[in-house]
């Protein structure tokens, strides 16, 4: 396989399933650090550039959980490939503001901030979101935030007319060679990917702690990553990444998905992880699973030429057991294209970058204060992600009131069987479910006085 690593094209016969971080460090690029090897700290971050037309679009990704095969034909930039002579304004601001202590996490922070400057609308997107996937144990973050804001202010009137990358080169944020990368990428011949092997979606769970698969076949390269709609439905390809879903026009026309998913994982993970992975992983606590259960989604399972369509809620048969036949691929999800009220709640120990103790989603339509077509889901409460059938049924045709909300929560409680684990005691999870059901209504109907 081939890709561009910083300034040079690299060709290797290493297995496509090895971890990009390990490969980079073996190449002598020790700027990216190993902090956790599971995408939870950001010390290993690199930029991954993808050719789109005449431009290259860069994303910050955790190289520790990035299978090498995923970077075939792309431009991978480590901290070494960011360096110019002297310090760039991000590096300079980190030094000036005391945003660095031991220095181990620093290359990751620099990469994350570079990705922000390369992509975001600097006026609209707060710079804090750029580094929400990076852990620093020394500084307490205030100095990093100060540095990020200062670096940002130096280019507040950036002229994007010749493209952001060129503007950043001119502003001394990036080395000159970035301007030559699009041509280099166009000229690079990429081998067709494997046709046989293990299907891999995002790999953000499959590749943690140095786990790997033989001969990975990447679904995103097979065209499973699209989001589209027809007159009746919105379709989400199983390999669509979470960030694409979060920012999709189709979903945001109906729901506040962008806001709902802002606390799902972190940007680098959302750019890699997929909806299909989140569902097929069958974790009882997957945020997207819970979200789409409450949207009463259908799924399509493809085997050879044909496919079968079923309700997402019928897909889960037991702990990590799915209604999935040998060779079947989860092809897409679809939800009805209709405006509904939708609330998504998630409580985790840490507000951001954490797995939920309990999450829950609720959708319904409202006609004359009467609930129609309600769907309630809850995660972390059973061996499978739960569609709360009885509570949903109960809510149908009910007039919204404090009593109805409480009764729905009471019924939901009879449907769950949480266990004590690292994310909380069973007792806590039951209480949380009740509170999150209340929270759905408090959020959707702030004037409703649920007496607690």
């Amino acid at each position: 396989m081939k890709f561009i690593l910083n300034r040079k094209i690299v060709e290797t016969s290493e297995s496509l399933g090895i971890h990009t971080l390990d490969f980079l460090r073996k190449m002598g690029l020790t700027g990216p650090k190993e902090g956790c090897h599971e995408g939870d700290c950001g010390a290993c971050m690199v930029l991954v550039g993808i050719l789109q037309g005449d431009e290259v679009k860069y994303k910050a990704m955790n190289s520790c959980i990035l299978p090498l095969g995923k970077i075939e034909g792309k431009h991978v930039v480590t901290i070494e490939g960011i360096n110019i002579e002297g310090l760039n304004p991000v590096q300079q601001a980190l030094c000036d503001e005391g945003g660095v202590q031991c220095g181990y996490c620093t290359p990751g922070f620099v990469i994350a901030l570079m990705s922000y400057f390369m992509n975001e609308d600097l006026k609209d997107t707060p710079v804090i979101t750029a580094v929400e996937g990076n852990i620093c144990r020394c500084t307490g973050y205030n100095s990093i935030l100060r540095a990020a804001e200062i670096a940002s202010s130096t280019i507040s009137d950036l002229d994007d007319s010749k493209g952001r990358i060129n503007a950043l080169i001119e502003a001394n944020f990036l080395p000159n060679y970035f301007s030559e990368i699009p041509e280099k990428m166009k000229a690079m011949k990429v081998h067709p990917q494997l046709k046989k092997g293990t299907f891999v979606a995002g790999g953000t769970d499959l590749f943690i702690n140095r786990q790997t698969v033989e001969n990975p076949v990447f679904l995103s390269e097979l065209g499973f990553d699209k989001i589209w709609s027809d007159d009746d439905y919105i379709y989400v390809g199983s390999a669509a990444d979470i960030e694409s879903i979060r920012t999709s026009d189709e979903l945001n026309a109906l729901f506040e998905t962008a806001q709902h998913f802002s606390r799902v994982s972190t940007l680098p993970i959302r750019q890699q992880a997929t909806i299909g992975g989140n569902v097929v992983n069958a974790s009882p606590i997957g945020d997207l699973t819970i979200y789409f259960l409450a949207l009463d989604a259908d799924i399509s399972l493809k085997l050879n030429g044909s496919n079968r369509i079923m309700k997402l809620k019928d897909f889960f048969k037991g702990y990590k057991i799915l209604d999935l036949k040998d060779g079947e691929i989860l092809e897409w999800f679809r939800i009805k294209k209709e405006k509904k009220l939708l609330s998504f709640e998630k409580v985790a120990k840490r507000m951001y970058m954490d797995i939920a103790s309990v999450n829950s989603a609720l959708s319904f339509k409202i006609e004359d204060n009467i609930i129609k077509d309600p769907h309630l889901s809850g995660g972390g409460l059973a061996p499978i992600p739960l569609y709360l059938e009885k509570a949903s049924e109960y809510l149908q045709n009910k007039k919204i009131s404090s009593e109805v909300v409480k009764e729905a929560a009471r019924i939901a409680d009879t449907e769950v069987s949480p266990i004590d684990d690292v994310r909380g005691s069973a007792k806590y999870k039951r209480l949380l479910l009740r509170q999150l059901i209340y929270a759905h209504f408090v959020e959707l109907f702030p004037e409703l006085e649920v007496s607690l």
Binding site: Q101, G103, C136, S357, D421, R423, R434
Partner: protein, 746 residues
């Protein structure tokens, strides 16, 4: 600014795992105990030995010297011989050509245990007499006869959890064999001389056959004070047997399983107040969860006792502390070293006493703050205290009283979001409490071109000690800092070092550096005097002055002249903190050179619908003496504070029968950027500290304890939602504990 930082931002700074791997280097896998307590009755390593790529497999019987890690108390084997005492204890070590081969071979090892009953509760251990060392008691005044004169007496229990260090660079070492069996160890340690000495004992070597070199480490926080040694020893053993370089860098998961943490404590207390809120009497029993071996637990227990009264004066005190032996990995040093646990307890008691007496806690705190000359339970009198000054300053700067009113208004209007506030004063003793450790050496080399190399015993771990030493050397020599290079910490250049810990790194090593620099300046001035003839010679800003007037003699040509005159341009110096002592029979003395002070005001919001919280803002007024580097000291305050907040809120170590289940960064949550509060820090002015180098103050640990304020700000907010229920003083205050407090369910 810290001049040593730019390479960090470019990814060019070298940590142990970044050192180019030498030829023939071997990798290590450590086979560990998966039961908390038991006898080894059968161990089978045959399959592992035969596995492809495996070069050597060792067990306890292969250790040529002493199989011992314990420094204070010799009670911890490097490799378990007959019995295991905790999950994570090494039993077999595999050395192989690749990491994968080492790991696969390790998986072929099998062991049979005769399991023994295990203890996980320190109180149960104390009851059964399973103590690491005899308990210790500090006494001041007469507690027993005072209770009768108290208006309010509160009694209760406080629990605080452990804390994982989460240094971003995990533990590791690279061992390189040299001629004559000598070994060079690149160890990620805060404590090179202990690595050197322990490894020597394990190999049955003289210390001069082991060289330990540390360029920097990626965070330590105490976790690499004692517990970097085992991994260095394992690498050294591999090199000893194979004559090949050996590297072991733990992955995060292994690191969390096999290394010790901050000690959990459980405490019973009784405290009495007079009607105005003056504290009259205080007794407490502290049960420390030491884990399965002593490590530094007894020293940590001592520091707990030294800090039971925090920044308050209490005339009658009797406190006893027990270091309890349990079957978890031996706990170890972590920022604050037992003091945070004690200070959390006294703040809980004041909170409790405030509820019972209806005197606001801020009034109780203010009323009992230390005054000049007040005595600590260990006999030392407080000197140059800024406890009151920082307290009143932060009340003013944070607009504390206005904030209380504004929160009241807000809380009236807001149904589910409630705001709360707290004040957290701190007083922290500076010096190693083991008096003999308060010593340091420095070696200053001036090359004939005028450039300077400084070596000390201090380890750079992000706390900026190297920049402080560079500043001290530049000032003491009166030359440009650019001329000075801080060398790696190396046991062949500066010997018999104390660990870089107890916040003393800059104090001790900086002072030794200053003394060495003065020796050189003295010699250079003699050279200048000889050259310039009569008059008063001095040196300032790189130029020799004669009778106060600049001469042609610059640093560079002065140094060259000195070389030509055969003057020694290298100086070694030594510093031992004067005036400190401690009588451990009487438990009285002057263990600290001085104390660090400051106060924080913390604002928090609680979402009482979901049981979640945010720490919104923290205002700090801190006494850093005459700061050697504003940015570095600011960073220590901000970083220490956020780590402290983490300890009391999110960071929860969870075990199942002695097995850590919060064993990754996915399940053990440290503060992220969203969780960090907005922090404002003001350093007190005109607070020259006569007891440390260039009138500065140590700053590594004290700010950690400002984090304790977060607990009480959350509590204050939660009790704005409900206050009809007894508060259980238990940290960390996780969202789970909070929600279960806010609502009663079956």
């Amino acid at each position: 600014m810290n001049d040593l930082i730019p390479p960090h931002t470019r990814g060019e700074s070298i940590f142990v795992d970044d050192i180019p791997e030498p030829k023939n280097m071997l990798h290590v896998a450590v086979f560990i105990s998966n039961i908390p307590h038991g006898k080894i009755i059968n161990l089978n390593i045959g399959e592992a030995e035969k596995y492809e790529g495996v070069v050597k497999v060792i067990t306890a019987k292969d250790i040529p010297g002493e199989n011992q890690l314990g420094r204070i108390i010799q009670d911890e084997e490097l490799i378990a011989e007959e019995k295991v005492d905790f999950i994570g204890q090494p039993i077999v070590v595999v050395y192989a050509k690749t990491k994968e081969q080492a790991n696969k071979a390790k998986d072929l090892i099998s062991v049979e245990f005769d399991e023994l009953p295990a203890i996980f509760d320190p109180r149960e251990a104390a009851k059964k007499g399973a103590l690491i060392a005899p308990s210790r008691t500090f006494t001041l005044g007469d507690v027993d006869s005072t209770w009768d004169s108290c208006e309010t007496i509160v009694e209760g229990r406080v629990d605080s959890g452990g804390q994982e260090h989460v240094y971003m660079e995990t533990q590791g070492c690279l061992a390189i064999p040299e001629e004559d069996g000598r070994l060079l160890l690149y160890s990620a340690t805060q404590n090179p001389s202990t690595v050197q000495s322990t490894v020597s004992d394990i190999l049955d070597y003289d210390m001069n056959k082991i060289e330990v070199d540390v360029k920097r480490i990626g965070g330590g926080f105490g976790g690499k004070e004692d517990q970097a040694t085992a991994w260095a020893a394992i690498c050294a053993l591999g090199s000893y047997y194979t004559k090949q370089p050996v590297k072991l860098v733990l992955d995060r998961h292994e690191d969390m399983i096999v290394t010790g943490k901050r000690h959990p404590y459980s405490t019973d207390y009784k405290l009495g107040l007079d009607k105005d809120g003056k504290i009259l009497a205080f007794t407490a029993d502290y049960y420390q969860d030491a884990g399965a071996a002593a490590d530094l637990s007894t020293a940590i227990l001592g520091r707990t006792l030294f800090h039971v009264t925090n920044a308050y004066f209490i005339p009658n005190v009797r406190v006893t502390a027990y270091s309890c032996k349990t079957n978890i990995v031996p706990n170890t040093a972590m920022r604050g070293f037992g003091a945070p646990q004690a200070m959390f307890v006294i703040e809980c008691i004041l909170s409790h006493a405030s509820e019972v007496s209806s005197i606001p806690v801020s009034v109780l705190q203010e009323k009992n703050l230390l005054n000049e000359g007040d005595q600590f339970p260990y006999g030392m009198q407080v000197e140059k205290t800024t406890a009151r000054r920082s307290f009143s300053q932060v009340i003013e700067d944070s607009r504390f009283h206005d904030l209380v009113k504004e929160q009241e208004e807000f809380n009236k209007e807001s149904r589910f979001i409630k705001k709360g506030i707290s004040i957290m004063p701190i007083c922290f003793g500076i010096s190693f409490t083991a008096t003999h450790m308060n010593q340091a050496g420095a070696l200053v080399n001036v090359y004939w071109d005028g450039s300077v190399g400084v070596s000390t015993g201090a380890i750079e771990m992000g706390q900026g000690v190297n920049m402080k030493i560079k500043t001290i050397a530049a000032r003491a020599l009166s030359i440009k800092p650019e001329r000075i290079r801080i060398e790696s910490t190396n046991t062949t250049r500066v010997i018999n070092t104390s660990p870089t810990s107890a916040s003393t790194g800059a104090d001790l090593n900086g002072k030794a550096t200053e003394i060495a620099c003065k020796k050189i300046i003295e010699r250079l001035l003699n050279v200048a005097a000889e050259k310039l003839g009569q008059g008063v010679v001095s040196f300032e800003n790189e130029i020799v002055l004669l009778n106060g007037k600049k001469t042609e003699l610059t640093w560079e040509n002065l140094v060259w002249s000195a070389y030509l005159s055969r003057v020694n341009l290298a100086a070694q110096a030594f510093y031992a903190t004067p005036g400190i002592y401690f009588d451990s029979e009487k438990e009285k003395g002057k263990p600290f050179a001085y104390h660090a002070f400051g106060t924080a005001v913390t604002e928090a919001s609680v979402d009482c619908l979901r049981g979640t919280y945010t720490i919104d803002k923290v205002h700090v007024v801190h006494d850093a003496g005459r700061s050697l580097n504003y940015l570095i000291d600011l960073g220590q305050v901000e970083g220490g504070l956020v780590q402290g907040i983490g300890w009391l809120t999110l960071e929860e170590l969870q075990y199942e029968n002695g097995k850590l289940i919060s064993d990754s960064l996915a399940t053990y949550k440290v503060p992220d950027i969203h969780f960090a509060p907005e922090i404002t820090v003001k350093f007190l002015e005109d607070v020259d500290n006569p007891y440390a180098v260039m009138k500065s103050k140590a700053i590594g640990e004290p700010p950690f304890m400002y984090g304790i304020g977060s607990y009480f700000a959350i509590k204050d907010a939660a009790q704005k939602f409900r206050n009809d229920k007894d508060w259980s003083y238990s940290a960390p205050l996780t969202p789970e504990k909070l929600l279960l407090y806010l609502y009663d369910i079956e």
